[in-house]
């Protein structure tokens, strides 16, 4: 088989080089396949991997040589064939093979077209990278209560963790919704890492960060001379994410003209760079995320309905932290350990008072806010336990104004310890339905004014019920006398 008169590589060196020798010495398993998908050459590494001799493999359909999990469904050569351009970039997939020794081996398959001098397709090349040595991640312990870098054991999150591995294995578009700081980026990355595209690139684009003209070029690329200043070709994020995942965060901020282009890509997997007359086929999985209400935007005509349906194939909604029950305590313990280790502090926990204040906070910024609070605490704390004085001041005193607090007009919990400094945060109802909607649609000064009015009214009513006795009114409101006095001064009620 290994004839000395085999094919030659000409024109590269002074003398022709035997191609067979060159291919055999490449340590990566490689096969050359005819246009009819029959094996015409296996290098030595491929023979070793498939446990099959070159003589046996020759002229067999490649599916009987590689016996890959993708051979019957989702063959990468089909993707290569579908490309309108002969010069399509190689397609890569993770899969497994069952070789002639009956061993199941995880591999990364990369396929591409081979073209003749006239551009016509003459066959394909296929490489199979043995992943057995590169999969220590399988033995990596996951978080005890979570998935990837995500934590949580609330029922909502457990449902997400349960669905995630199965969804990751498909190529369906994923839409991640949730408030800011709930972990949309982490989830997108977890989906990518658990998918068979994990070895491919994970490219993130913030659709709200760039003006429309720049965003189009950033996403789809441009040809040299497409516009003033386009001095060279730019591939664009779609092409950079080829064989991987493109994460479009803040997709609700995507301008309408670009929504059309994204829609076109989702339909036929072809992008059109700025200034180019030819489409480029890219193999990219789309994960989109937004904190906006896309259905509401569709009703207002700011988001295309057809794009919503194409993105919304699989939808993950990440609940806000205030609806995740005991996850707050889990995150507090986790981040305390992380930051104490990072900053070299010997902090072993929170005092009961500090823990109560932290558990009662509403966390409008969700996990990100909690993480920042714990980082602050660990920075400030010089003791073995984080106490109330180590908490950010706004948590204790400005909490009500900043986070909206009991927007339903209810006073703080009657169980609040009288005179404690945690009175203001206690007034915040963590899981009150309706607070969320109010938070979401709140707009700056209007909300402050509304709450100020409500709080002023609360104080007035409490004072009236207590017949002007400030101590009794403060007790009813669950505040310290000093807090009531300060607020009365603030609202001009002490005149």
């Amino acid at each position: 088989m290994a004839s000395e008169l085999g094919p030659l590589l000409q024109g590269l060196f002074d003398r022709p080089v035997a191609a067979r020798t060159l291919l055999d010495r490449i340590p990566l398993p490689l096969a050359l396949v005819s246009a009819e998908r029959r094996v015409v050459f296996l290098n030595q590494a491929a023979c070793a991997l498939t446990a099959m001799s070159r003589e046996r493999a020759l002229n067999l359909p490649c599916r009987y040589v590689f016996r890959c999990s993708l051979c019957t469904v989702g063959c990468p050569l089909d993707v290569v064939d579908k490309s309108p351009s002969a010069a399509v970039a190689p397609v890569a997939r993770e899969a497994d093979i069952v070789n002639a020794d009956r061993a199941r081996i995880p591999v990364r398959v990369t396929c591409g077209a081979l073209t003749g001098a006239d551009g016509s397709r003459v066959g394909y090349f296929e490489t199979l990278e043995d992943l057995r040595l590169f999969r220590p991640s399988e033995a990596r312990p996951e978080w005890p209560q979570g998935f990837g870098d995500m934590l949580g054991h609330s029922p909502e999150m457990e449902r997400v963790f349960r669905l995630l591995p199965g969804i990751a294995q498909t190529d369906s578009s994923v839409l991640v919704t949730g408030e800011t700081g709930t972990g949309k980026d982490l989830l997108a990355e977890a989906v990518h890492n658990a998918s068979n595209r994990a070895k491919g690139p994970f490219v993130k684009v913030n659709c709200g960060a760039l003006p429309e003209s720049l965003l189009e070029s950033e996403l789809f690329g441009h040809q040299k001379g497409a516009f003033t200043g386009a001095s060279e070709n730019k591939p664009g994020r779609f092409r950079l994410a080829h064989n991987g995942t493109l994460f479009l965060t803040e997709v609700g901020d995507l301008p309408l003209p670009l929504q059309v282009k994204l829609l076109t890509f989702l339909d036929d997997k072809i992008i059109h760079p700025l200034g180019s007359t030819r489409g480029v086929h890219v193999d990219v999985r789309i994960i989109a995320a937004t904190h906006r209400d896309l259905r509401g935007m569709v009703r207002e005509g700011r988001f295309r309905e057809d794009l919503l349906y194409r993105l919304n194939v699989v939808r993950f909604h990440l609940p806000p932290l205030r609806e995740r029950g005991d996850d707050v305590a889990l995150f507090l313990a986790h981040y305390l350990k992380v930051y104490a280790g990072m900053f070299g502090k010997r902090i072993s926990g929170f005092t009961p008072a500090a823990e109560r204040a932290l558990l009662d906070h509403a966390y409008p910024g969700n996990v990100r806010e909690l993480r920042n609070i714990v980082e602050y605490c660990v920075n400030v704390c010089q003791d073995t336990h984080v106490d109330l004085p180590h908490l950010p001041r706004y948590l204790l005193e400005e909490g009500v104004e900043t986070h909206g607090g009991p927007r339903d007009g209810r006073p703080g919990r009657s169980t609040a310890p009288a005179g404690g400094r945690v009175d203001a945060p206690r007034a915040v109802s963590r899981a009150t339905p309706g607070v969320r909607a109010t938070d979401t649609h709140a707009a700056g000064a209007g909300v402050d004014g509304t709450w100020a009015d409500a709080e002023r009214r609360l104080i007035m009513e409490a004072l009236l019920r207590a017949r002007g006795r400030r101590g009794a009114a403060a007790a009813e409101l669950g505040w310290a006398r000093t807090t009531l006095w300060r607020k009365m001064r603030q609202y001009g009620l002490d005149q």
Binding site: Q44, L60, F66, I97, N99, A100, D101
Partner: protein
């Protein structure tokens, strides 16, 4: 890697008799046992004739499901291409003959079965 298959294959196998299952994908043997989408079930009588045959379409490609069918149908010989050692050992332990590494079309395989010439690693026509 000097030999085509390092495994120690039987050099002379008796003609196949009894219930036979061929793991199929479309009109040919499936490249992998666990990826078979159809199964041809036949009974070869003592004279080497085909007593009865039928093709089952599987709801899902699954090695476990095929094993279940093999046991419930009292199959004595399985014909397939790639198969994991785990399933090969299981079927062998169940006293089922496994002819693996077979490449060929459905008709060619049935013809070889009836002729009594089918062996493991056989490469037949029809693909």
């Amino acid at each position: 890697m000097s030999d085509a298959t390092p495994r120690n294959r039987a050099t002379k196998e008796p003609p196949v008799r009894g219930n036979v299952l061929v793991a199929l994908h479309r009109d040919a043997v499936a490249p992998r046992f666990d990826r078979a989408t159809e199964a041809w079930l036949g009974r070869i009588d003592g004279e080497g004739g085909l007593a009865r045959s039928r093709t089952m379409v599987l709801a899902n490609a699954s090695a476990e499901e095929l094993c279940r069918i093999i046991l419930t149908e009292n199959v004595s010989t399985v014909v397939c291409c790639g198969i994991e050692q785990e399933f090969h050992d299981y079927l062998t332990w169940k006293r089922i003959t496994v002819l693996d590494g077979v490449v060929g079309g459905r008709d060619a395989i049935i013809g070889a079965l009836l002729a009594g010439t089918l062996k493991a690693d056989a490469v037949l026509g029809g693909v």
